[in-house]
């Protein structure tokens, strides 16, 4: 009994709601990746073990699975705080904004960096709950500033939009290079 109590004390820790779900998912992913070791890497004959292409992934996956199992045990043995599924819901709500981000990424090469950003920022501000015209104008202004600073001044590599092809020559070059 003393041994079991010591083991529980060893693994006890503060854990937030949702920790067990994460620990279990991570453990499953680790085990899955480890199970793919024979198929996803080559083990050509001859040569030292450490020189094998599969050696380092094997080391990392064994370590990952080992620590993930210990982390899961710690989660299972630690006091639970209510709110697990609300927390998972919070994580899933993050996917919405990942979706917003990918839509932005998809539209920029088509509509152009400046027009897309001038649309995206106010729309995102609306979605975030800002309704006042000052907030929406501020969002557009920030978007304009970001485009000018990064594309026009720092010359980061963001290509012009496909829609710029329909602009007159001089304007098309300017927009493609600086906006």
């Amino acid at each position: 009994m003393t041994y079991i109590k010591t083991l529980q004390q060893l693994f006890h820790r503060y854990r937030r709601p949702g920790d067990l779900v994460f620990a279990l998912l991570f453990l499953f992913v680790s085990i899955f990746l480890l199970s793919q070791l024979g198929e996803q890497v080559e083990w050509p004959g001859g040569g030292k073990l450490v020189a094998q292409p599969g050696f380092w992934p094997a080391i990392s996956l064994v370590g990952m699975t080992f620590f993930a199992a210990l982390h899961y045990i710690g989660s299972a043995l630690s006091p639970r705080i209510p709110g697990r599924w609300q927390e998972v819901g919070f994580w899933l709500r993050g996917l919405e904004f990942a979706g917003w981000f990918m839509v932005y990424v998809w539209v920029v090469p088509r509509l152009g960096y400046l027009p897309t950003t001038l649309l995206f920022m106010p729309l995102l501000a609306l979605r975030a709950g800002y309704r006042k015209p000052a907030h929406l104008l501020g969002a557009a202004a920030v978007g304009f500033g970001v485009v000018v600073i990064f594309k026009a001044l720092l010359s980061v590599k963001i290509p012009g939009g496909a829609v710029y092809e329909h602009l007159p020559d001089g304007l098309r070059n300017f927009m493609s290079l600086y906006l």
Partner: protein, 490 residues
Amino acid sequence: MALALLVGSVGGVIIGAIPGVGAAVAIAILLPATFSLDPIVGLTALLGIYGSSMYGGAIPAVLVNTPGTAVNALTTYDGYPMTQRGEGRRALSLAYSASFFGGLFSVICLIILSPLLAAIAPHFGSREIFLAALLGLVLVVLAHRGQIFAAGMLACFGIFLNTIGLEPVRYTQRYTFDQTWLASGVDLIVVVLGLFALSQAFLLLVDRDDHPETAPLSGELFSGLKELFGFKRVASVSSSFGVMMGMIPGVGEFTAQFLSYTYAQKTSKKPDDFGKGSSEGLIASEAANNAVPGAAMIPLLALGIPGEALTAMMLSVFYVHNVIPGPQLFQNQMDFVVAIYIALLILNVLVLCFLLFSTNTILKIIRIPTRFLGAIILTLGFVGVYSLRNSATDCAIAAGFGVFGLILKRLNLPIVPIILGMVLGGIMEVKLRTAMARVKTPLDFIDRPIAAILFGLILLVIALHIRTLMIELRKRNRDEPGDDTGSTHV
């Protein structure tokens, strides 16, 4: 270069002052933009942000009990109680002065120690670098007390991520699942942008809206410089902790702050004042955390081994411009090294001058509502990811890591081990292969003095940790023999 320094310093202060942003987000976003600049200009801008963000982070920590950056957390313990009793101006002045002292101290240590380490570095062969990187990984895992298993699994995950794609010796594919988009591997900068910038954007956008309420400060802020001279011992020792922790890979600001705060309290004539507005407590935390950036550059410049996540990101700036850190940097490009020293010195002076005159202006800026801030970070995150290779796939990967980072932040699990696992894991794989070509038995691996010392340090660190754990367990059993709900951390 002067403009880059100015923009980096001022920008870093503002970024650090806004809760929810931090130097990591800013550096992750700006990193790709610096690739097209001259290497010293790009590095100067990034160092400016890194070195000055903690100065700015003290502002909300002191005035509204909200650390601007995570490493300013201990600053709230004594800074905010001082504000509550009407000494906010004095607290900020002390925080700035202590940060300035710590920053200058670490730059001086950088100037003295990095050439020394670079002189020893030629004796670092493949085995020694492998063991140094392994020591860094062990330390980064053990440094996360209470979360060692999580830190371990995430560090191993980082090492795994680095192995995906084309293997560099026999050119075989590893863990690509026959997907062409994985053939070139998972880019470190994409992962960094996802885990730091996009995750923060998602977190701020999903969480409820908030913004710090701040009142303007009146009076001047110079008194802290004079007051600091009355606490020279605390400031010096705290800065020394910062330098030591900055030099050791994987440790960083949190440990430095914690150790220096504990030391200051134990050696203070008024230990009961700590946590209630003690000047010594404030000086200890701010001097320590600002002494880390300069010191973290020591192993980076001398050995090419990053001390923590932000210097790991800066390593990519070096490589993009074919500037290889290590002893050859000190032999062949000493002008580059001296430029970094000068930039760091000027940075601290610039930031202090800026803060002494513009704190009230910064107070207005940090009132940005958090969801609005999230929208801005999301837009900036796009620039960072898309400008790398104009790849929608990179953006999708970054978004995926953004959601993963959101989950880690909500669960209070560490992100840094993933980044260090990717960087140090890559170094370890290459160096182990090279080293094993000349090793016949396991003992041959540590038959050189530096390798033996490093191996001994690894064992010592693990043994000390196990010993600490056993002592805590015994103490817990002694204090609460009938209670099986103890929360000993591993």
